[in-house]
């Protein structure tokens, strides 16, 4: 029973992480109608993983969410954002013109909905990927704090 002394931390963290992720998703999808959006949600999702890394150690966090994955996630986010812009171009609109995505008449809102959701998703991927990459870059440099040092 070596690690008994932060059993409370571990248990509470396990309870908290799903709530944090859920709240992040709420902020993400609420962004269409009110305050919130991809940037805040991306930070919150990254915080969930960072909390996991703080309590269970960076190596196990890196096993759960590998650095290669976070780096690609950031890249995919930017690709998604810019890709929606190019999609609008291909449909004959201006760059990032949501109205042109499905070539709707003025008054149609389908393109607006799909456009903003994809854009915000791109921001979510980009921000959470970049946050975690930065965290890993800093946290990966120092030696792990051993249990006896607590």
């Amino acid at each position: 029973m070596k690690s008994d002394h932060h059993v409370i931390l571990r248990v509470i963290t396990k309870v908290l992480i799903p709530v944090i992720v859920l709240y992040g998703l709420y902020v993400q999808f609420h962004g269409d109608f009110g305050p919130g959006g991809g940037f805040q949600a991306g930070v919150i999702l990254a915080v969930a993983v960072i909390l996991y890394a703080l309590v269970f150690g960076v190596p196990s966090a890196m096993r759960a969410v590998p650095p290669a994955f976070t780096r690609s996630l950031a890249a995919v986010g930017v690709l998604l954002y810019a890709g929606v812009g190019f999609w609008a171009l291909l449909q004959g609109g201006q760059y990032l013109e949501y109205q042109a995505l499905f070539q709707e008449e003025p008054g149609g809102h389908h393109g607006q909905h799909v456009g903003i959701i994809l854009i915000e998703l791109g921001v979510l991927f980009g921000v959470s990927g970049a946050m975690l990459t930065i965290f890993y870059a800093f946290a990966g440099r120092v030696a792990e704090i051993r249990d006896e040092d607590w």
Binding site: V78, F86, Q94, Y95, E97
Partner: protein, 509 residues
């Protein structure tokens, strides 16, 4: 030639050139970050910069063909004060052409030096950061929105810090240099955004053209004047205006040689463009506080840069530091031209901006060749290279002569134009400073040229060791451009004059 391009280019390229110019490199950058192969990412970078050059040429043609001299593009089809517009006139089409053509030449020559200086697994990420930087610089030059300009300025700056820091593989001093640059660059960007905030509070808009149209009614408004001061300091930091240039010598000396070459020819130039845009398009020289800025701030700073940094360049032992200090001195020439406050002055400044990009591009490319073959950048390392690497060093010498301002080179022509502009305003005493600074250039470049051509090699067993052909071709394109534009100045001088007229909001040509 440009007419032919406008006739043959596909319709989508003509319609969307402003957006594609920035977004194509910015879209390819994250793609490179997940690619496994360095060589492939190099080829894609060449493609991206070539495509940007293609768009820039289209824009130059469209601006010249347009009756009002402006090409606009509404991002997301949101029109002017609400949405972000990309707005291209003669001034920024010239800058875009410069950045894109230097980008193409730099990317082509980069592969041998990147292979030698950057660890292999970082090659795709390196090119990814380069493309982000390139797209950011193009974005600063193309946008018509003051806040969007800040965003692109940060995009290019942050990737620049990364690129500078990657020089750590060759010299650990790249890390403090990059950190120093990061602090100074962030300060500059913060000052700029504070200034934009003041302007926004006074005018209620972020669109550059819209701010410009509202400012004449706000004469004497304190927050406009405070915003002006913040923006001048912020952009001055980015453009390395003396004495805000402290980040530049270290950043140029320790970054990978490809990065030095690309930055010296583009980064400070783009910041200087933004400065000119704010000095002449947003604020107007008729404003009393701006006249005072020209006479009591920019002109003394320009002169001080020309003299002190040329002196500092004389005492350097490292070739890259000599060239870096000389860069700050050359920014002084441009600032001097701008501070004359007339169309002739600004066009002389912009003309020197174009020529200096060609000169420093060629010089740093040749230095990159020496780093590649002999692993040294001190003047001692250059001794006798005129015999062992004649092609590289002849290219270096041509650009060096152009930097000094020898007749029949581009550098001479721009100093001539600067002299004309100064004489027009009766400022003959400033011409004395220009000539004196050129004499200092003779000394600091002369020291290097003397070592190259007249001293015996330090290691006589060094046989012919020319830079690779990938490096020699772009180097010689730039070197020959220095001679060509020193003989016929029609093309760059025409671009610079139209650009200066556009900066003043005058009808071009």
């Amino acid at each position: 030639m440009i007419d032919l391009l406008l006739d043959t280019a596909p319709r989508w390229a003509l319609l969307h050139a402003p957006a594609l110019l920035v977004m194509a490199p910015l879209f390819l950058a994250p793609l490179l970050a997940i690619l496994p192969s360095g060589r492939l990412s190099w080829l894609i970078s060449i493609f991206a910069t070539l495509f940007a050059l293609f768009c820039a040429l289209i824009l130059v043609g469209q601006v010249q063909a347009s009756p009002v001299g402006v090409v606009g593009y509404d991002v997301g089809n949101w029109p002017m004060p609400i949405g972000i517009v990309l707005r291209v006139d003669a001034l920024n089409s010239m800058i875009l052409l410069l950045v894109a053509s230097i980008g193409v030449l730099a990317t082509i020559f980069s592969w041998p030096t990147v292979k030698a200086e950057i660890p292999e697994r970082k090659h795709p990420l390196f090119y990814s950061a380069f493309l982000v930087c390139f797209a950011g610089l193009c974005g600063v030059a193309i946008t018509g929105d003051a806040f969007n300009l800040f965003v692109f300025l940060e995009i290019s700056s942050i990737s620049t810090y990364v690129l500078v820091a990657l020089g750590a593989g060759r010299d650990r001093r790249a890390l403090p240099a990059a950190f120093n640059y990061l602090i100074m660059g962030t300060l500059g960007a913060s000052f700029y955004i504070i200034g934009v905030g003041f302007l926004y509070s006074a005018t209620g808009t972020l669109n550059i053209a819209d701010i410009a149209s509202k400012l004449p009614d706000l004469a004497g408004n304190r927050s406009v004047e405070a915003g002006f001061a913040f923006i001048i300091v912020g952009l001055g930091l980015k453009a390395a205006v003396w004495p805000l240039h402290q980040w530049l010598p270290n950043a140029y000396s320790y970054s990978p040689s490809f990065v030095t070459m690309f930055l010296s020819a583009t980064a400070t130039k783009v910041a200087l463009y933004a400065l000119i845009r704010f000095l002449f398009t947003v604020f107007r020289p008729e404003f009393a506080f701006e006249q005072a800025t020209f006479t009591y701030l920019l002109m003394p700073l320009g002169l001080a840069a020309m003299i002190t940094c040329s002196f500092q360049a004389v005492f350097q032992t490292d070739v890259r530091r000599t060239l870096a200090y000389s860069s700050v001195a050359q920014v002084g020439y441009m600032i001097l031209g701008v501070s004359v406050g007339t169309v002739a002055g600004v066009s002389a400044g912009l003309f020197h901006l174009l020529n200096h990009a060609m000169i420093k591009g060629a010089l740093f490319m040749a230095v990159a060749g020496v780093v590649l073959t002999f692993q040294g950048t001190t003047i001692r390392d250059f001794a006798g290279l005129g015999r062992t690497a004649p092609w590289t060093m002849t290219g270096f010498a041509i650009a060096a002569l152009s930097l000094i301002g020898v007749p029949l080179t581009a550098g001479f022509q721009s100093k001539l134009q600067l002299g004309y502009a100064l004489f027009d305003q009766g400022m003959w005493w400033a011409v004395v400073f220009v000539v004196f600074s050129s004499f200092l250039a003779v000394i600091y470049m002369g020291r290097i040229l003397e070592a190259i051509f007249f001293r015996p090699p330090i290691n006589p067993r060094k046989s012919r060791k020319e830079a690779p052909i990938l490096l020699l071709v772009p180097l010689w394109i730039l070197a020959l451009a220095n001679i060509y534009f020193g003989i016929t100045t029609e093309l760059p001088l025409g671009l610079a004059r139209d650009a200066a007229a556009a900066a003043f909001g005058l009808e071009a040509f």
